[in-house]
């Protein structure tokens, strides 16, 4: 009896001991899972923090106040209004003159050149536009705020490490002294960077903007949407509602699933070989980009649309057929309207994918350096992600912040598209 009790106690001890171990394992396992999720969240937040902390300064730009004398000798006689004459004058000279006036001590040719370098080369165009708009300025002296050079801008934003030896810095000691003088006189100011939203690409960071790329993205997506949405929905309707169950349909289905997983760069090669080399369409245009992206997003849209059609209960179809509608009328009048929110959700997600896609567009030549803002689907242009790729490759420090800012804009578009899709789904989702 005693022995048996002892035996039992021993077993319980063993179980108890094992239980502790098992519970410990349980906790460890749970921690591991939680750790994985936290790691994922850390990645997300780290990514966003890096991008935002690098990029938020790009929304501001340093401006310098100059006293510009609109010298009639350098532009044109007072009273001249002919735009031909006005546009050809040497406006850079005006800026240089006003710089010389501010720093009369600078006499050395080399130093002068460095001094002029503080002001962006785009400032001359600003002055020109001002004169062309208002020729009465000629002969007067005005205070003008002009764009500072990118290195100057970087210094003001604190991106240049002044502890480095002079030879390793983009801003030299004499420039520092001049900038200090300018700051003393309240001639330096940071303002909202409108250029970033109104200009195309440029070799000068302070003159570059995303408007050209944004328009290119818009035209590309427009083409993509006008092709992929109708075709995708039509294909989904056919496969889900009309297709006979046979080998041919099976082949189409397997094909669509496989296309969804083909690397995007292969679609770019398809576009290069078919649209550009075979059909002779021009390179770098949104039309070709849109066509390639349409082929790429088609599987996504078809799969989502089929799911949406599947979720419409058969009773709807039976009721419509029962009162004498033809199969086509059943679909177009009853099933499609009910499935449309789901299809739209899928389409928006497909469009978001297309908006962020870069690799296939590199293949069809959308990486060219294009300054002009495109006006139609046949104008050469870049798109936002390609612009990001191009800027990321540029060595200037100022392009790093502009790349990050462009990423922020792109992500804002993507996130709002996804939110729209979620909202659509929430709003129109019906449980039958």
């Amino acid at each position: 009896m005693n022995n048996q009790q002892q035996q039992h106690k021993k077993t319980m001890d063993r179980v108890q001991k094992g239980l502790d171990r098992r519970y410990r394992q349980e906790r460890h396992f749970q921690w591991l899972g939680l750790g994985a999720i936290i790691l994922g969240l850390v990645f997300v937040s780290f990514l966003f923090i890096t991008i935002i902390s690098n990029g938020y300064t790009a929304f501001q730009q340093t401006y310098v106040k100059l006293d510009v004398f609109y010298d009639p000798e350098m532009i044109a006689p007072i009273g001249e209004t002919d735009p031909e004459v006005l546009s050809r004058a040497n406006y850079g000279g005006l800026i240089k003159a006003s710089m010389r006036q501010m720093f009369p001590d600078v006499t050395n040719r080399r130093e002068k050149k460095v001094l002029y370098g503080l002001i962006s080369s785009g400032a001359a165009y600003e002055i020109r536009d001002a004169v062309m708009n208002n020729p009465e300025l000629i002969g007067t002296k005005q205070e003008v705020w002009v764009v500072a050079d990118d290195d100057f801008d970087m210094l003001i934003k604190g991106h240049i490490d002044l502890r480095l030896p002079e030879s390793d810095r983009r801003i030299k000691d004499n420039q520092l002294a001049w900038i200090h003088d300018l700051q003393e006189q309240d001639r330096v100011e940071k303002r909202f960077n409108t250029t970033f939203f109104t200009a195309g690409d440029s070799r000068e960071p302070e003159l570059s903007g995303i408007k050209g790329a944004a328009y290119g993205s818009f035209f590309t997506l427009l083409i993509c949407l006008t092709i992929a949405f109708p075709v995708g929905v039509a294909a989904a309707v056919y496969l889900e509602e009309f297709a006979p169950k046979n080998r041919w349909t099976d082949i189409i289905e397997v094909n669509i699933n496989n296309l969804a997983a083909v690397p995007s760069i292969v679609f770019g090669l398809l576009g290069l070989a078919v649209f550009i080399n075979f059909f002779g369409l021009p390179r770098s245009v949104p039309l070709v980009g849109g066509l390639v992206l349409a082929l790429m997003t088609l599987p996504t849209i078809i799969i989502a649309s089929r799911a949406a059609l599947k979720s419409v209960p058969p009773s709807i179809r039976e009721a419509a057929l029962g009162v004498g509608a033809s199969p086509m009328q059943t679909i177009t009048h009853h099933v499609l309207p009910l499935a449309l929110p789901g299809m739209l959700t899928g389409t928006i997600i497909g469009m978001a994918q297309a908006l962020g896609e870069t690799a296939p567009l590199l293949m069809i030549g959308m990486v060219a350096f294009i300054v002009d803002v495109p006006g139609s689907v046949m104008d050469p242009s870049a798109v936002l992600p390609v612009q990001i790729y191009l800027w990321a490759d540029s060595p200037e420090r100022a392009f790093v912040e502009r790349t990050s800012a462009a990423i922020m804009i792109l992500l804002a578009f993507l996130i709002s598209m996804n939110l729209l899709a979620v909202w659509l789904r929430k709003k129109f989702e019906r449980r039958w």
């Binding site: 519970y23 349980e26 749970q30 899972g33 939680l34 750790g35 994985a36 999720i37 790691l39 994922g40 969240l41 990645f43 997300v44 990514l47 991008i51 690098n54 075709v231 995708g232 039509a234 294909a235 056919y238 496969l239 009309f242 297709a243 189409i252 094909n255 496989n258 296309l259 997983a261 083909v262 690397p263 995007s264 760069i265 292969v266 090669l269 398809l270 290069l272 070989a273 078919v274 080399n277 059909f279 002779g280 088609l298 033809s326 086509m328 978001a352 908006l355 962020g356 870069t358 690799a359 590199l362 990486v367 992600p385 390609v386 990001i388 790729y389 790349t403 792109l410 993507l414 996130i415």
Partner: protein, 460 residues
């Protein structure tokens, strides 16, 4: 601009045709719809289709052949010695003619014949545009009128319209097939041309990759060797690193989400993790090149290792981060597909949750998880932007993750970007690489989808 005006005009004509077709059908029966075979709107649609579709088809054909016909006519008008130039030179001349007629910059000097050719080109083009306008519009009007005139009350307009729509639906669904065929043909065609210059065995088993072909025979460092093994080794190395990051994190987070997390936590954390899936790859590439690669390099310097600033490690880790949501959402699906009865059975035997997961759920879900991982591998292999921005450019056959390696996709991009000539082995090599890439990802997908489908059937 011309074409879009024409299309808008045609659309306008189509709506007019709809109106008149509908009106005629109604007037035929004196407003008694019941006497018609189909609803009046179907007669309208039928008329609109007759009006629009032939004209649009004509427009498409015209536009696709206009350029070549006009160019042919311009070539014939050129002097004999220009016509006898080799094709590439002739192309250059024609390009100049085209640019000249559009007022763009021209590469060669403009002489009398060039100017004449350009004028000829411009006039032919404008004649062609005018003719297109007239022909397309008259086709639209005539066909529409004919369709409207021939409407009768017994005409089966609905069936005809539905047949046309059905044809559109069917052809849309076959577009996927055409895309695949297009990919295969375009890649295969160029690859065959590549393999005529470089033997297949050299391409598949060669250990050295250096695609710069020499322009002069004595040029240094331009050997033009196309052995793709280092590229595939590099791709595999980066993919392996990505999987080492993505699979444990993705799988564990899926398990936690499915089995442990409270509903509140799930609704909060899941969308945030899914944000990772929506970020464009170019952003990951920038992140890898700007932040992660320098971080690893500095870390390496601190502990006395030389880490390349384009190390496979940085590209692989960032690619892994990108793939986490992919792995986790696929595993989430298969874990949730495991029947509750299996869990309950395990709990009933006294197993703890983690024991249930490890000994019951994961073995049951394993085929699905493997399928998901295979899909993730195929994605990692085909991923382009991260490696273009963060991995190396020169081929390097190594297994050391701290060194720079290059991948298949990087080489495709570097071989094709900014390169216009289409006959050199260098450009064609990109298509051969793409062919292998396509075949590998296709095979991985087929296997993965097969495994996933088979497993799903087991529990349904």
């Amino acid at each position: 601009m011309h074409t879009s005006t024409l299309i808008i005009l045609l659309l306008g004509l189509m709506s007019l045709a709809y109106y008149f077709g509908r009106k005629r059908s109604l007037s035929l029966v004196g407003g008694k719809v019941r006497d018609l075979h189909s609803l009046p709107s179907y007669y309208g649609m039928q008329t609109a289709m007759w009006c629009g579709i032939p004209a649009l088809i004509l427009l498409a054909f015209w536009l696709s052949f206009e350029e070549s016909v006009v160019t042919g006519m311009v070539v014939e008008s050129l002097p004999q010695e220009v016509q006898n130039l080799p094709p590439e030179r002739l192309d250059l001349v024609l390009n100049d003619v085209r640019n000249l007629s559009q007022g763009d910059i021209v590469s060669s000097t403009v002489d009398q014949t060039m100017q004449q050719a350009a004028d000829h080109y411009t006039s032919l083009m404008s004649i062609s545009h005018m003719a297109l306008f007239v022909v397309a519009l008259s086709v639209a009007i005539l066909a529409g009128l004919w369709a409207q005139r021939t409407i009768t009350r017994e005409q089966r307009a609905r069936n005809r319209v539905e047949k046309a729509i059905n044809f559109f639906l069917l052809s849309s669904s076959t577009l996927a097939i055409f895309t695949t065929v297009g990919i295969v043909l375009s890649v295969l065609f160029e690859s065959v041309r590549f393999f005529q210059q470089i033997p297949v065995t050299e391409f598949l088993f060669g250990l050295e990759w250096s695609p710069q072909t020499a322009i002069r025979p004595d040029q240094v460092g331009s050997s033009g060797v196309f052995g793709s093994v280092p590229l595939f080794a590099g791709t595999m190395l980066i993919t392996l690193i990505a999987m080492i990051v993505a699979v444990p994190i993705g799988l564990m987070s899926a398990i936690y989400m499915a089995e442990y997390a409270s509903k509140h936590f799930r609704t909060l954390a899941k969308p945030v993790l899914e944000v990772l899936a929506g970020i464009p790859t170019v952003v990951y590439g920038f992140f890898a090149a700007l932040t992660v690669a320098p971080f690893f390099r500095d870390l390496g310097t601190d502990i006395g290792l030389t880490v390349s600033s384009e190390s496979a490690l940085a590209a692989g880790v960032v690619m892994g981060i990108m793939i986490i949501p992919f792995v986790s959402s696929l595993s989430d699906d298969v874990i949730n597909a495991v029947p509750q009865a299996m869990r309950d059975g395990s709990y009933g035997l006294g197993a703890t949750r983690s024991e249930t997961i490890r000994n019951v759920i994961i073995p049951a879900a394993l085929p699905g998880i493997v399928g998901g991982v295979l899909l993730a591998v195929s994605r990692a292999i085909g991923e382009t932007m991260i490696v273009v921005m963060a991995a190396g450019l020169s081929a390097n056959l190594t297994a050391n993750p701290l060194e720079a390696v290059t991948t298949v996709t990087v080489q495709i991009v570097t071989l094709l970007v900014g390169d216009q000539e289409f006959d050199s082995a260098k450009t064609l090599a990109a298509f051969a690489l793409a062919l292998v890439l396509f075949v590998i990802t296709l095979a991985l997908n087929m296997i993965a989808l097969h495994i996933v489908r088979k497993y799903r059937e087991q529990y349904e």
